[in-house]
Symmetry: C2
């Protein structure tokens, strides 16, 4: 996955001068760079500080989807105050866009009360999404897909994790950066909207594992091997909306999925691998040796059963209709356990696609109908947002919505 | 602060062979190593993976206090079940010690149900502390200081964040590592104790900022400049207990301090600097230019007031009695805001000292009596634990308690 953040030299590295900057960038870009660095007169090598990495805010699309998921993400859903009309929406989205543009570049927000906390962008991205009520209040027609998903038999949805008029997804490789950015954005929007829910999730921290390693979830599974990648034509076709005020935008489905680790514990390793259809050790399909081997759904065991069971998550998540695909990003959550239990864990699953009804819903319906993993997982939250197109400097996210 | 983790080569790097291992270690140990690496025939340079870093579990003291604080820490307090007698305590502490020794070295726990999640130690440490009820149940005399702190006028303590029979502090540079270790430890102890409270906190992520940078709290303050450092005689004198079954152990005071960011917002920058006694930009005392300059409490303004106000946190936190000092470690917390607010934030403050009554309490009393920062901070949780001595391979943490 392309990662613009690790290509250039950071502001701090530039301040340190050329030679040091080269050293600073070395580990980020690999072996060739190391050779160059040592050839240069590097008297004061800089440390490699991933906190300096910047994901540019402006562009045709909002920026987060172009980068490898950050280590931490907080999703905040807000409800509009009754008094917030189209004019209020315009002011709110201008403020949010301006704050986000500054903070993501490592600068203080305009009314930043703790400007020093803004100096470590750590690939901060801020993604702004809108729900149906906000679109209606802006006076635009609400797309058919911008509504609660159809009910699935597996759902046990709680209001506390569902719905919302406005989504702010704040993601970065540093938790303090997120805390500060989140507060600045919520201060900027508090006259217009109130917090409905907050979901915080994590993956491996930056630099803990080799870049490009597929994440593992709290069941220990390699999770998300098959996933259209940003920068490919396939991704562009599946993700971006092409027409209307959402051109350049997309949709985001947020599902909070509780994972029952205590019941999962009772399942042995072969049982776990059958339920997923992949080995636990390296995520290879049960018919293969490596994570990215193509599964062979026709392969049979010596006694005639499919090697990858019909009820496995891998088989059920794969439709024969290749348009029924989406880009997924997931973050683990792990909250304080409630009385008597030893964990309260799960996944903040997000799916990105041009049309949730055509791409996400058929797959979710297949999984709701049959997926052995349902034994240990429960969707407890659900929301759908339109992810607005990006904006250029001087503009704001939402200008086509309010045009 | 010494950091054993970054000195050696990790298991993964060793597996990759000598040359690659050198490359892997390069960025961790600096410029000299870079030169060596490039001189060697490094065909497949390894990435620098801080996830491989190990803090050895065994030793005279429990390990966490010897390292630079990790990026993430979760403190779990448990209450003993009624049936847990001295024999049960022994079994519990053996299990916890064995699990902790394995997990901190990047190996699966003995009954690990997700062994793949254990492979990224990321400087994992597990620190085991005990409260007065546990000590009594073990049949040992409870030290006078192992009790709730005296009440302070500023306290607004909530049961939800106070007390406990057993403390497990799980810290690492990776949040998934913590989630997995925490679950393994709680599974291991669930027959003996139930979770009372969980507090999760964070600092900057590893590699985001230059190593050795003093943390900032969510007020934006440089926080913890003056702090006796592990590896110094001063630290050893202040921290370690020398006699009895706790020889080699220490005490930990945990204070959960809510920080009212909304009210702090109303204070201007000079007001903030006066309340702390330091500049916000770089944490220098108001009488100095650099963070580590010694404050001059006698310096006066042109009109005769102290430059560092008498009511400032810096002045009040400094006793003239140099025995009234302790080692501090703090982690920020940032929870989902409750209705109507935009943040619910603060600090998990921990103080480490041989005797809380002689070292911590007088300072806390001074701050309770007068400290302008009290206007914006409120202690909402408090607990005191005895941190057990460390153990050698084959032994367990708690063997002197149960001897």
């Amino acid at each position: 996955m392309p990662d613009p953040a690790s290509r250039g030299l950071s502001r701090r590295q530039l301040l340190l001068g050329g030679a040091a900057a080269g050293a600073g960038a070395a580990a980020a870009i690999g072996a060739d760079a190391v050779a160059r660095v040592v050839a240069a007169p590097a008297a004061t090598p800089a440390e490699v500080l991933h906190g300096d990495a910047v994901v540019p805010f402006h562009g045709r699309h909002q920026a987060a989807l172009a980068v490898t998921p950050q280590a931490h993400a907080t999703l905040v859903a807000l409800d509009l105050l009754d008094a917030t009309d189209a004019d209020g929406l315009r002011r709110m989205l201008r403020i949010l866009s301006d704050d986000a543009a500054r903070l993501t570049s490592g600068e203080a927000a305009l009314a930043d009360s703790e400007p020093e906390l803004a100096l470590v962008p750590a690939r901060l991205t801020v993604t702004i999404g809108v729900g149906p009520r906000l679109v209606a209040r802006a006076g635009k027609e609400v797309p058919a897909w911008l509504a609660p998903l159809p009910a699935f038999a597996i759902d046990r949805l709680e209001d506390a994790w569902s719905g919302g008029d406005l989504l702010l997804e704040v993601a970065a490789d540093d938790p303090l950066t997120i805390a500060h950015a989140q507060r600045m954005l919520l201060k900027g929007s508090r006259s217009f909207a109130a917090v409905r829910w907050v979901q915080s999730g994590f993956r491996r921290s930056r630099g803990a594992e080799r870049q490009g390693t597929t994440m593992r979830n709290l069941f220990g599974q390699v999770d998300g091997t098959v996933n259209p990648q940003p920068g490919t034509a396939d991704f562009d076709r599946l993700v971006w909306i092409r027409e209307g005020w959402l051109a350049g935008g997309t949709s985001l489905v947020v599902r909070r999925i509780r994972m029952d680790l205590d019941r999962w514990d009772r399942l042995d390793r072969p049982g776990r691998e059958q339920s997923v259809g992949r080995t636990l050790a390296n995520g290879a399909p049960l018919t293969g040796s490596w994570e990215r081997d193509e599964p062979d759904f026709a392969a049979l065991t010596p006694i005639g059963f499919p090697v990858i069971p019909e009820f496995s998550h891998l088989r059920r998540a794969r439709s024969d209709d290749t348009s029924q695909r989406f880009h997924r990003r997931a973050f683990n959550y792990d909250e304080a356990p409630t009385a008597g239990s030893v964990s309260e864990s799960g996944m903040i699953f997000t799916a990105v696609q041009a049309d949730p009804l055509a791409q996400f819903v058929p797959i979710q319906q297949r999984l709701s109908d049959l997926d052995l993993l349902n034994e240990w997982t429960t969707p407890i939250g659900s929301a759908v947002f339109a992810i607005l197109p990006g904006c250029e400097p001087g503009g704001f996210v939402g200008e086509t919505l309010l045009a």
